[in-house]
């Protein structure tokens, strides 16, 4: 069974691929905030929709917090925990 850490890594890889393809054509530093990557609010929402569809999770409004939307790592960890608790 996949560890939470592995799941987060899988989500992170998919997320980086999506961002590179759809939102940002520069190299991606996973520790940078979405804002620093030049991703605007519509971009963040597109990311949420992508993650919900790809990993079949429901990211509800109460989960859309500053902590979870800080950067790629924090969002990946959230999605990994949602997959874990399905």
């Amino acid at each position: 069974m996949m560890e939470l850490k592995d799941k987060a890594a899988e989500v992170s890889a998919a997320l980086r691929e999506f961002i590179l393809k759809e939102l940002c054509n520069r190299s991606i530093d996973v520790n940078k905030s979405f804002d620093e990557l030049g991703i605007d609010s519509m971009g963040i929402l597109r990311i949420i929709l992508f993650l919900e569809k790809r990993f079949k999770v429901n990211i509800t409004d109460n989960l859309l917090t500053i902590e979870h939307l800080k950067d790629i790592n924090s969002l990946s960890n959230l999605v990994a925990s949602l997959i874990e608790n399905k």
Binding site: E22, L23, C24, N25, D35, E36, G38, I39, D40, S41, M42, G43, I44, L45, L49, D61, L64, T65, I66, H68, L69
Partner: protein
């Protein structure tokens, strides 16, 4: 000829629909006012522009087609140039009068004009362009492209350029004819204006006026931080809308205007595309906010409500549904289409909003904005046309880590005093909310 009265939202949607039908464009004149820290060398500026004109793929396509030649100057070398002027000791206001930005003057406006205004105390660049050429981001991208060193190696790979050729240019004249009809309708007395206290407007020349407010870095950072607690995705945008719509509501407090319909432009440009001159992939979210909500909720609660509505709309694919609704007019008789619009797009047009809270194309990763020759940009204000009604629009964007606010309004609709009060209230509310 009897002209049938139109409701505000009908006019707006009809314009949108027509433009979207043609090309995905929203027809408009947009302006970008950029104040530099220093005076650039004139010959370097002109040489850079000439270089850009030679290499810009989209421009080359336009010029090759020669369809737009009426709008462009031609020099002795038979090369089409955009309007480029260098003014000395002239006020920005005078130049803005030349590039008047209203529905009534849209036919006389060049599709792209660059005015360089050199004064003792400041240097200003005014970029005026038709949305047929570029979207709101396009103005910044023109700067970006002028600045880049590799423009000569750019290849035409963007599918939007193909769309630009095939649909927009063919229908340019058709659009002009349509706009004349809309303008006639708008100038009729029976148009219901949200702020129609001054019925003399129909006899006046419509001029777009604007007030610019620059918020310092500390307060800008502070607003950003506080807005994240309203909502981490749409907090800032929602706060700006809430503050602005409250001001509009004060202006119409004693009138039964129904609910507010707020068109919020959504940029559908592929963020990896750096072409400034493309078909404009813009859509709108029409936020419907009840009059009671605007009246009774605090700015904080109203901002939270707007954030939730925005997220729900995007999640429920309302943007695509709006596009479909706007485009359905192609297949329906006009009367039926307008009947559907009247019954599905309820609410008076609130105002136009543009909020760009992320990084801009003219900023480097550290948030420092420079022009195409590397001069630091001190301030930068978007100044799009606003429709009547309501005749006022609010535009928020961040440059050099400072929030820039433009309030645009049509002359005669409001007094300077009212605008002064509105701007004071906006700044005070930005300082105090939360």
């Amino acid at each position: 000829m009897k002209i049938e009265p139109l409701q505000a939202s009908d006019i707006f949607i009809k314009v949108l629909d027509y433009d979207q039908k043609l090309s995905g464009l929203t027809g408009n004149i947009a302006q970008l006012i950029v104040r530099l820290s220093d005076v650039p060398k004139k010959h370097k500026v002109l040489s850079k522009i000439n270089e850009w004109i030679s290499y810009e793929p989209a421009l080359k396509r336009i010029l090759k087609k020669k369809i737009l030649k009426d709008y462009w100057y031609i020099n002795n070398n038979k090369i089409f140039n955009p309007y480029v002027y260098w003014h000395i000791n002239t006020s920005l206001e005078e130049i803005l009068k030349l590039r008047v930005n209203t529905f009534k003057t849209i036919y006389n406006s060049p599709l792209l004009a660059l005015d360089f205004i050199e004064n003792t105390n400041e240097f200003t660049i005014l970029l005026t362009w038709h949305h047929i050429l570029a979207d709101a981001k396009g103005g910044e991208l023109i700067f970006y492209r002028l600045r880049s060193n590799d423009i000569s190696t750019s290849k035409i790979t963007d599918q939007n350029l193909i769309r630009f050729d095939s649909s927009i240019l063919k229908n340019l004249n058709q659009m002009k004819i349509f706009r004349e009809k809309v303008v006639k309708q708008m100038s009729q007395n029976n148009i219901i204006s949200l702020i129609d206290r001054n019925d003399k407007i129909k006899n006046k020349n419509l001029i777009l006026l604007s007030k610019h407010i620059q918020i310092d870095k500390n307060l800008t950072d502070n607003i950003k931080y506080r807005a994240q607690h309203i909502n981490p995705i749409f907090g800032e945008t929602s706060l700006f809308i809430a503050i602005s719509i409250k001001e509009i509501h004060k202006l119409i407090k004693n009138k039964d205007t129904g609910n507010f319909l707020i068109p919020l432009p959504i940029n559908l440009r592929n963020p990896t595309s750096i072409y400034p001159l493309i078909g404009n992939p813009v859509s709108f979210i029409f936020l419907l906010i009840n009059r009671e909500e605007v009246e009774n909720l605090s700015i904080l609660k109203l901002s939270k409500l707007i954030s939730t509505k925005l997220i729900d709309d995007v999640k429920n694919n309302i943007i695509n549904a709006t596009n479909a609704a706007l485009n359905i007019g192609k297949f329906l008789p006009l009367r039926l289409y307008r009947y559907i619009l009247r019954n599905t797009m309820q609410g008076q047009l609130g105002s136009m909003f543009f909020a760009n809270t992320g990084l801009s194309y003219i900023s480097n990763p550290a948030g420092q904005a420079t022009d195409f020759l590397g001069y630091k940009i001190n301030s930068c204000f978007h100044r799009p046309m606003v429709s009547i009604p309501p005749g006022i629009g609010f535009f928020y964007s961040t440059y050099n880590q400072k929030l820039h606010i433009t309030i645009c309004w049509i002359n005669e609709i409001m007094s300077k005093n009212e605008i002064s009060n509105i701007s004071n209230n906006i700044v005070r509310n930005l300082e105090q909310t939360l």
